[in-house]
């Protein structure tokens, strides 16, 4: 058992949730396969967190996921390290001694440093999120969080692998999504998608090869930042899956147990 924390998302761990058909991958296996094949290069992360336990936990968990981690324990130290550069993503606690997280990010942005930053905060209300993002943060995750959620978001911020934002056509194996023509085809066959399904698939494909969590989908496809108590997202994904995977081989849209979803070319 490498990842104790990875099963923390109750939407999957819970037996009360309805299970949906489709291929299921274990997150640990996914990581292991990725590491073994060295297909995914390690990210360099800077964690700025004053709580030692939390920082140690994050360092350990990110290292197990195959990433290189530096830890700073206050805002000033974080700023010094961040200015040296070379990080793919910054994970910044909002309330820090000596210089708070928002000021740290604002300072970096003022210097033209665009390294993606994720803000961790105990404040999770609408206003707090807005101020966090306004200060220059790229993503905002309220505490307490599941590590799988944090990992998925950090990887999404690093934008490894997937298509560029400017690409008008996304491709995964024989699945094609034309963002300009609003057309979706698989193996040359047209697939009719509802507008919301289109945006869902668009988001999944933009992060092809990366785990996408339910809350990420809810935030980016529906623009909601709360946690619905039912498995609303699962049913939407299940519907999408029946359109793009049913009758085709191999299945592309996988459920990652304990984390979310991933769209990718086959299972290794």
């Amino acid at each position: 058992m490498t990842y104790m924390g990875n099963n923390s998302n109750p939407t999957v761990a819970s037996d009360s949730r309805r299970s949906h058909d489709g291929p299921v991958i274990d997150l640990a296996d996914l990581r292991k396969a990725a590491r073994d094949s060295a297909q995914e290069p390690a990210m360099r992360l800077l964690i700025v967190e004053d709580d030692r336990d939390a920082a140690d936990y994050l360092r350990k968990a990110f290292r197990e996921a195959g990433h290189v981690v530096d830890v700073a324990s206050d805002g000033e130290e974080g700023l010094v390290l961040a200015r040296e550069g070379g990080y793919d993503v910054l994970v910044v606690d909002r309330m820090l001694p000596r210089r708070d997280g928002l000021a740290l990010i604002a300072e970096l942005r003022g210097r033209g440093d665009k390294t993606p930053a994720l803000i961790l905060s105990a404040l999770g209300q609408v206003d707090d999120r807005v101020t966090g993002l306004r200060a220059g943060g790229d993503d905002y995750l309220p505490k307490p969080y599941a590590f799988s959620e944090l990992l998925a978001r950090v990887e999404a911020l690093a934008r490894r692998g997937g298509p560029q934002a400017a690409d008008t056509v996304y491709r995964v194996a024989d699945l094609e999504l034309d963002r300009l023509a609003h057309r979706c085809t698989r193996a040359g066959q047209e697939i009719v998608l509802q507008p919301r399904e289109f945006r869902l698939l668009e988001y999944l494909m933009r992060h092809a090869g990366q785990v996408v969590t339910r809350t990420m989908l809810l935030e980016n496809v529906w623009d909601y930042h709360f946690d619905p108590q039912t498995n609303v997202i699962d049913v939407h994904v299940s519907r999408l899956r029946s359109k793009i995977d049913k009758g085709f081989d191999p299945p592309l849209l996988h459920t990652v147990r304990g984390a979310g979803y991933i769209i990718r070319d086959g299972v290794r």
């Binding site: 099963n7 923390s8 761990a13 819970s14 309220p142 108590q229």
Partner: protein
């Protein structure tokens, strides 16, 4: 501070003192002006009379010398309303006239003067005051012509004396009245202070006394009482909420702890450990959600979300929530019928409404999903204008809520006994209520015959041209 010190320190007393001072200065000036003016008038009349007499007597002297003048002076001096007259030689011996007791050498110098004198005919009377003119005539004769200015003194006594007394009396009455009014004010203030002290000491049921006179103190007392009532309600609510929080957070915490303890004692093998850990995490996630919901309600009730209020289309939010829940409802055997004819611009926090509507959809699915396999139910979500307001109706065909229970379910943590066995936190509807209240709207629970109809009314944003 002494009672008197307290008294003169009050605003009312200071105001009265200031008014009195200003009034006294003004009245004093008026009196002084009047007095000065009358004096001047009397003096001028006397001067004119003296000049007239002088001219006449000089003419007599020129015509008939000193003997004629002496005759005329003697005759005139005997007249009943005669002025002062005196004719002397250069050595001061009186030739004719009606004045006695002049100061020594008084007649040596010419000119105008005021003197106290005694008339020769009533030598015992008190000296009177007069304005006199002394002239040197050829031959070293001296002539004194004068008039009484007693009227002037009388006038002064008639006008200025009473005026000054009146002024003094007025100031005295003013000060006394001020003290009286101030004491009355102080008494009510002291009363209010005493009651407030009691309230601060913990007796929240205390109220200020309303005298019923409708004065400013009554108005103040009334509005303070309203405030006290609100505080008392809030405090009672707070106590109830903290009791509820203690109960509803401690129950799952206990469960969590028991489970972990049980795992520690009995779990064997990776699988059991894993299951126990998963359950622990699941339980703590549920706790976090409860906690989040509580925070959100608390913030909404405190009106703290108002900073991020913007104009947005509630109809669009309703449509999007309906769309979000449609697949889940479908799986549960429910059709979502969205009846949303047009935009509903309101000012508020979109995210909160999305959450509130999600809670309503969640509840509707939870409580109205048909039990029989293959049976279909329906959830109707309507968003429309009604009576110039935005109206959202979520209606299901479930068991509904008995009329007696309806007001209670909007409170925090209230879950009706019948639903205790189903999952949920009992916060869904209270969040809806808090969000709607924050936006100045109302929530009503009605019967859908059968089922539950939740009707939300909100003020529309009527500004058709947003900035």
């Amino acid at each position: 501070m002494t009672a008197f010190g307290k008294l003169i320190r009050t605003t009312a007393f200071k105001l009265i003192a200031a008014y009195l001072l200003v009034f006294a200065v003004f009245a004093g000036s008026v009196i002084a002006y009047l007095g000065w003016h009358t004096q001047r008038l009397v003096t001028r009349q006397a001067t004119e009379a003296i000049e007239k007499d002088t001219r006449f007597l000089q003419a007599q002297f020129e015509r008939g010398g000193v003997s004629r003048l002496a005759q005329v002076v003697t005759r005139r001096a005997r007249a009943p309303d005669a002025g002062l007259l005196l004719l002397t030689t250069y050595s001061g011996d009186a030739l004719a006239g009606n004045v006695l007791n002049l100061p020594l050498n008084f007649l040596d110098k010419e000119g105008w003067r005021e003197i106290d004198y005694v008339r020769s005919e009533d030598s015992v009377g008190p000296p009177s005051r007069a304005l006199v003119h002394v002239l040197l005539l050829p031959g070293e004769f001296r002539l004194l012509v004068g008039r009484d200015v007693v009227e002037r003194e009388e006038l002064r006594q008639i006008i200025i004396g009473p005026a000054l007394w009146g002024l003094a009396l007025l100031v005295l009455l003013g000060v006394a009245g001020g003290l009286f009014v101030t004491r009355r004010v102080l008494k009510r203030i002291d009363q209010m202070t005493a009651i407030s002290d009691g309230i601060m000491a913990g007796d929240l049921s205390g109220r200020l006394v309303v005298a019923g006179t409708g004065d400013e103190f009554d108005r103040l007392a009334l509005s303070l009482n309203t405030m006290l009532g609100r505080i008392e309600t809030l405090m009672a609510g707070l106590k109830e909420v903290s009791d509820n929080i203690a109960h509803d957070l401690k129950t799952p915490l206990t469960r969590l702890r028991n489970r972990a303890e049980d795992a520690l004692r009995t779990a064997q093998g990776d699988d059991q450990w894993r299951t126990a850990t998963e359950q622990t995490i699941e339980e703590s996630d549920a706790l976090i959600r409860t906690f989040d919901a509580l925070l959100m309600i608390a913030r909404a009730e405190a009106g703290q979300a108002s900073a991020s209020m913007v104009r947005f289309d509630l109809a669009e939010t309703a449509a999007s929530v309906a769309e979000l829940y449609e697949p889940v409802a479908d799986e549960a055997g429910l059709d979502v019928v969205a009846d949303i004819p047009g935009p509903l611009p309101i000012v508020g926090v979109r995210e909160l409404f999305a959450q509130a509507l999600s809670n309503l959809m969640d509840n509707a699915i939870k409580y109205s999903a048909p039990d029989a396999p293959g049976a279909r139910g329906e959830i109707r979500l309507t968003a429309m204008r009604a009576d110039g307001r935005a109206r959202i109706v979520v209606a299901d065909r479930g068991p509904g809520i008995a009329e007696a229970d309806r007001p209670r379910v909007l409170e925090r943590f209230v879950r009706l006994e019948a639903s205790r066995t189903r999952p949920g936190f009992g916060l869904g509807l209270s969040l809806v209520a808090a969000v709607v209240r924050l936006h100045g709207g109302t929530v009503a629970l009605e019967s859908n015959d059968p089922g539950l109809r939740i009707v939300i009314d909100l003020p529309l944003d009527t500004d058709e041209n947003p900035a």
